[in-house]
Symmetry: D3
Subunit: 154 residues, 6 copies
Amino acid sequence: MKKAIYPGSFDPFTLGHFDILKRSLKIFDEITILVSKNNGYLGYNKKLEVIERYIKGMPVKVQKLDKMLVQILQDDGYTASIRGIRSINDFDYEKSMFAANVSLDDDFESVFFMSKPQLSHISSSIVKEIIEFDGDISAFVGKEAKELILKSRN
Amino acid sequence: MKKAIYPGSFDPFTLGHFDILKRSLKIFDEITILVSKNNGYLGYNKKLEVIERYIKGMPVKVQKLDKMLVQILQDDGYTASIRGIRSINDFDYEKSMFAANVSLDDDFESVFFMSKPQLSHISSSIVKEIIEFDGDISAFVGKEAKELILKSRN
Amino acid sequence: MKKAIYPGSFDPFTLGHFDILKRSLKIFDEITILVSKNNGYLGYNKKLEVIERYIKGMPVKVQKLDKMLVQILQDDGYTASIRGIRSINDFDYEKSMFAANVSLDDDFESVFFMSKPQLSHISSSIVKEIIEFDGDISAFVGKEAKELILKSRN
Amino acid sequence: MKKAIYPGSFDPFTLGHFDILKRSLKIFDEITILVSKNNGYLGYNKKLEVIERYIKGMPVKVQKLDKMLVQILQDDGYTASIRGIRSINDFDYEKSMFAANVSLDDDFESVFFMSKPQLSHISSSIVKEIIEFDGDISAFVGKEAKELILKSRN
Amino acid sequence: MKKAIYPGSFDPFTLGHFDILKRSLKIFDEITILVSKNNGYLGYNKKLEVIERYIKGMPVKVQKLDKMLVQILQDDGYTASIRGIRSINDFDYEKSMFAANVSLDDDFESVFFMSKPQLSHISSSIVKEIIEFDGDISAFVGKEAKELILKSRN
Amino acid sequence: MKKAIYPGSFDPFTLGHFDILKRSLKIFDEITILVSKNNGYLGYNKKLEVIERYIKGMPVKVQKLDKMLVQILQDDGYTASIRGIRSINDFDYEKSMFAANVSLDDDFESVFFMSKPQLSHISSSIVKEIIEFDGDISAFVGKEAKELILKSRN
């Protein structure tokens, strides 16, 4: 059985994240979403609650991201870390992070999925910007999670 | 008559912004500058005051940016939004924002101007950095606005 | 009346080019497509024939690209040159070309349209690659032009 | 059992390609290398011969690339296509190709591996450049394949 | 004698910075490291203390960065400013900063070193991220400075 | 005495190349321009003749580029190789080439100069494009070399 982690801040988890998650399940048997602790628009617990609404019935677990990725892969028998890439900026960041992780453990592995064209504009920060202007986020987040995300607005 | 909007934070409005504005008036009959509310170096009112000094006698209006761009274009009969691009970083950001806006309204339109080589280093953040080191901002902002910008320093 | 040119090699003219053309007609009253002379997959005359099938009834003319763009804008009263941008590579090239043209004539103007996400993968070279592998180009070129493009295959 | 394809021109297959291949075997049970037909430094048959020297004892097959990737994945039960990314240029190209393939078949899948920092300068074209200057290619190609590659020089 | 400056925030000074410094001493006879005043992970004084541990016995001085670079070069007889580039993001930033400085003084000079592949993932921010997760920073900072950096953690 | 090489194809040597050359002489005492053998618009001998017109009275030599750069630096006591960077595309290429050279000899050194904004659009290929359209190349090449370059047209 091949397991992978999917780390991120997920503030909030979007339809872009969800597409990467579903596509990675064609390749891995189980995914553990690792959610960073830092609070932003949503607090850590709300971020988890939002993710739970997306993943019902899927072989997906959710945990706190509280160790180095290289440590997590070594300790818990994961094959790889999963990341989506939308843009040059994402690519540049992921390239540095991958190199940093490989420098810590040469066996560290990361698998990248290119976001689909029709989803590549979706980001957590654009969702937050749209909320700020009272715009409609229906095309950016799952319908199960939409109300919860809007209610969590401060 | 073809009208366009020119949205931004303009903190402060620079000679780079002014060049984009003048060039867009070769194509559009009227431009409305939309200024974001967030305060930075200058407060919202000072940002407006600075812009007013540049645009005397031009078919240009200034308003608060308080709705989604797609909403503004639909509501007020604008043909397009105008944006200047200086660098890869700008391009990457604009590409995402354009895609996000198109996903909200497929008729949304944005027209991009490449900054001229001799102006492509000008940015609001460099102006602020120069001010911090007591450098000379004459080559970065309009001479009508320079004193007002410097006086507004906290 | 505001006129613009749309220069390119158009080998062949794709649905990506067509989208840029249609969007530019929201802003300009008339567009002249300038087709480069060099032969590739299609010869110059076939390239023209293909374009004619797209533009029926539109305020669009087609001509040979045989002078510098700055010269054409000066001589023939065009306001600007139009270009679509899909990717970083396009951006980098366009930035250099715009700077070169501005160095030849400071009044040279170019207006850029970002390709829509659902069209940004369309390029003349991918069309040619698909044809080589006997794939289906229906999603890449106009249906009026498809047969003509396929028949022109050597 | 999860199978993937690894398409490329492999002219010649380098230690960079070999690293991507080995890493993809941590995730997939079997890989089929698809070699493009076009001749360059090495002809198609020599390209195959070189690859055979690398893959002894590995669950890897080698075939001619003569159909669209989307067709191959549909016809032969492959889960995904594998690609390595070294640079911005690679990223930009892969992003377009992925989008083109997804436009042909929304279920098309591609999995990307970031090249390791210590290997990211290795490319087939640099190998050919070094050979042209009589330099040493030992750090760029497998030692089993080195002599064969050098002998194939015209 | 040719002298150069090496400006930065150095929060903290890493093995990446140290490599650029050593390489620049093959070209310049003396380097002055200019440390920005802003406090981050380390305060200004700790940043200096860290740097002192790296540069023992080298023709290197350390000073506060409190003027515009163009001013410093003019006032103090430096030939150039030194900068390392790791990524596209770095490049884009440096290009803008260089252009801004040249616009202030056409004789301003900057010399760029490409970071070595095996070091290009090292950045001050990754060091801070690793510290936050109690990871090992030995491969990122000099062993003389490591304890001092860790002790300075708040 | 510090010597450097400046390798390139220089087809033809432009005002962009000349600016990099002059700026590098602020740092190095002597520069050797290494001209690649391949013929393009100009043949190898014409390329040399053009360069000779630029460098009269400067501590600059011109030679054929016929060995690996790492070999040349080792054999002939040069401190570094010089390269100008104009764009993302240049950066991406130079990053790969630097990494390849460092992999061959860890002491290999390369020093990069960012092209000045007002010159960053100048390239040999744009010069050739302008010549093809009978445009004016005065702003792109040295006036001593202009006639020679135009006369060499096939």
